[in-house]
């Protein structure tokens, strides 16, 4: 419900303000200037925000379930950083302009490469510690590569363009972006959905979960691949959008009695709502340059998150 309203608002808001009725009519008929604005510009943007928000929320919830740690977040395995590095590379060296489709394609390729690397390094029977350390190493490496690209960029304008792209934005995304990213996002939803039931069992620890029939290696691989596909392709089309993956599961956890399986769907919906709201906020704040949505999610997300942590510490003495 909230999401439907947010999606409608997202269609209305922009340089040319539209009333709810005009926006809906334009969406349905596609007539006139409003029709073009809504269908060509705002609809792809809104749908992307919804899909990416859901993917971030779902990935965060899955990782927190796998690691049994509420602090886990999608950037942990290095896929978003790798996607960012690959996309920066193609933009910086002029293979493609920042707004073209080349960047997302390169980004998805980068994310897949990092997952492949991770699996190769970690091997088939890796412990969680090895996977995490390898992911951390890949993330740092990809971060360094991005920095190097900025460093070596042929001219300052391009460096600036890359830097802005990295901040994360849904501006000027077309239906083609959606078409490129959607299969990977949907694949990640399916993969993560298949692992969802294991998370509740993993609450008992890995040994007990294994004794109840969970195949740990398979569960870990599926989560790593699912998160990398989803978040990697999200970063590839929209740049890095922080904090949604970390915060979304937290916001809804208390409503499902901390059940790490049941939290998945609400976390995805919350992610959608958060990103739609942030993207609306970005367009509503008057400024010369449109604000970047990645900036807004972190700026708003961090204080909200800190408030929640303080609140939690006061109300319940949970131990791990």
């Amino acid at each position: 419900m909230l999401i439907a309203v947010l999606m409608l608002v997202s269609l209305m808001v922009g340089p040319a303000g539209l009333s709810p009725r005009t926006a809906l009519a334009a969406l349905l008929t596609g007539d006139g200037a409003p029709g073009i604005i809504v269908r060509e510009i705002r609809l792809p943007r809104t749908l992307l925000a919804a899909l990416i928000g859901a993917t971030l929320g779902l990935s965060g919830a899955a990782l927190q379930g796998l690691l049994r740690n509420p602090l886990a977040e999608p950037a942990l395995f290095g896929a978003p950083q790798a996607a960012a590095a690959a996309a920066s590379f193609v933009i910086a060296f002029g293979f493609v302009p920042a707004t073209s489709l080349g960047a997302p394609v390169a980004g998805i390729f980068g994310a897949l490469l990092s997952v492949g690397g991770l699996i190769l390094i970690a091997g088939r029977r890796a412990s969680l510690t090895v996977i995490l350390l390898a992911g951390l190493a890949l993330a740092s490496f990809a971060g360094a590569v991005t920095a190097l690209i900025l460093n070596l960029a042929p001219n300052p304008f391009i460096a600036l363009e890359v830097a802005f792209w990295l901040l994360g934005s849904l501006e000027d995304r077309s239906i083609e972006h959606l078409v490129i990213a959607a299969p990977f996002l949907l694949a990640s939803w399916i993969i993560l959905g298949l692992t969802a039931r294991s998370f509740r069992v993993l609450a008992l620890g890995e040994d007990a979960a294994a004794s109840l029939g969970i195949v740990l290696v398979r569960t870990r691989l599926m989560v790593v691949i699912g998160v990398a596909l989803g978040v990697g392709s999200a970063v590839a089309v929209a740049g890095s959008i922080g904090f949604v993956g970390l915060v979304a599961p937290h916001l809804v956890r208390r409503f499902v009695q901390s059940d790490p399986t049941r939290v998945m769907l609400p976390a995805a919906l919350t992610g959608t709502a958060l990103l739609l709201a942030a993207d609306i906020a970005v367009r509503s704040v008057p400024s010369a340059n449109e604000l970047k949505v990645g900036v807004v999610t972190a700026l708003i997300g961090v204080p909200v998150f800190l408030a929640m942590i303080l609140n939690e510490r006061r109300t319940e003495g949970t131990e791990s």
Binding site: R68, R197, R200, V201, L202, A203, L204, G205, D207, A208, A210, S211, L212, G213, I214, V215, Q257, S258, D259, P260, T261, E316, G317, T318, E319, S320
Partner: protein, 259 residues
């Protein structure tokens, strides 16, 4: 005394990281019997019980219902062997009844809708462990004794014919130690094959039908309590002197001094 053997290990060895931890262990678990595994720290008790649970690759033959343990799928195995590791870990503040229902996971359909049988099993497990009153409580807010009973209830809820528990009485007050041992004995009496790793020799002597004594990776002796838990054996394996106390006709060893 020859109830059917359900889980059996013949000359089972386990190596971890190139080091041999368990060597040529022979174990037979029978329905209706509470077996207790004792031995000093580092003797390989936990490794052996994990191998019996199918969680570690082991050399030699472990068979369940006369079929190799490795021939069962993880879910089939999980329906037949319930395993409770040390430490009663609960990572999320979930309600007790949700935690106990996890014992039904290997029986469930892919969507996890509980059946009447699942609900009956959870109720029976709550009753057996005296945790009915805790069902709605949040598991991370419970005391150590309550957590131990909830963890045990989770393992019982599977209603597996084999129950393996690793140090279920550690860090419990004396009353809870006895309560937990009674729950295990009742499970055995209702037809389960139970194996418990224990450190408390007096509890072992009082509750076990069968005792296995481990030292440096080997099961050095096993049999009835009065044959295994003798002053001489305990001195050899644990390096302590014991005082033997007669309690309702059972000779119960009380640790005295290190030798």
């Amino acid at each position: 005394m020859s109830a059917p053997v359900i889980l059996r290990a013949d000359d089972t060895s386990v190596s971890l990281g190139g080091r041999s931890i368990v060597e040529r262990a022979r174990v037979k678990l029978r329905r209706g019997e509470l077996a207790v595994l004792v031995g000093p720290n580092g003797a390989g008790k936990t490794t052996l019980i994990r191998a019996l649970a199918g969680l570690l690759p082991a050399d030699g033959k472990i068979s369940l219902d006369d079929k190799p343990l490795t021939s069962f799928s993880p879910r089939e195995r999980a329906r037949r062997i319930a395993y409770l590791p040390q430490g009663n870990v609960f990572h999320w503040p979930m309600p007790v009844e949700t935690v106990i229902a996890l014992g039904r996971y290997p029986h469930g359909d892919p969507f996890g809708t509980p059946t009447d049988e699942d609900r009956r099993a959870v109720r029976a497990a709550l009753k057996a462990t005296g945790t009915e009153g805790l069902a709605k409580r949040i598991v991370t807010t419970l005391s150590g004794g309550e957590r131990a009973r909830v963890a045990l209830a989770r393992a019982l809820a599977t209603q597996a014919p084999v129950l393996l528990v690793d140090e279920p009485t550690v860090s419990l007050d004396p009353r809870h130690q006895l309560v937990v041992m009674e729950v295990l004995r009742d499970a055995a009496r209702s037809g389960c094959a139970v194996l418990a790793v224990l450190h408390d020799l007096s509890l072992a002597a009082r509750f076990a039908n069968h005792v296995l004594l481990m030292q440096e990776g080997r099961v050095v002796t096993q049999g009835e309590v009065k044959e295994v838990l003798t002053e001489q054996r305990i001195a050899d394996v644990f390096g302590i002197s014991t005082h033997m106390l007669d309690l309702d006709g059972t000779r119960v060893p009380i640790p005295q001094w290190p030798l």
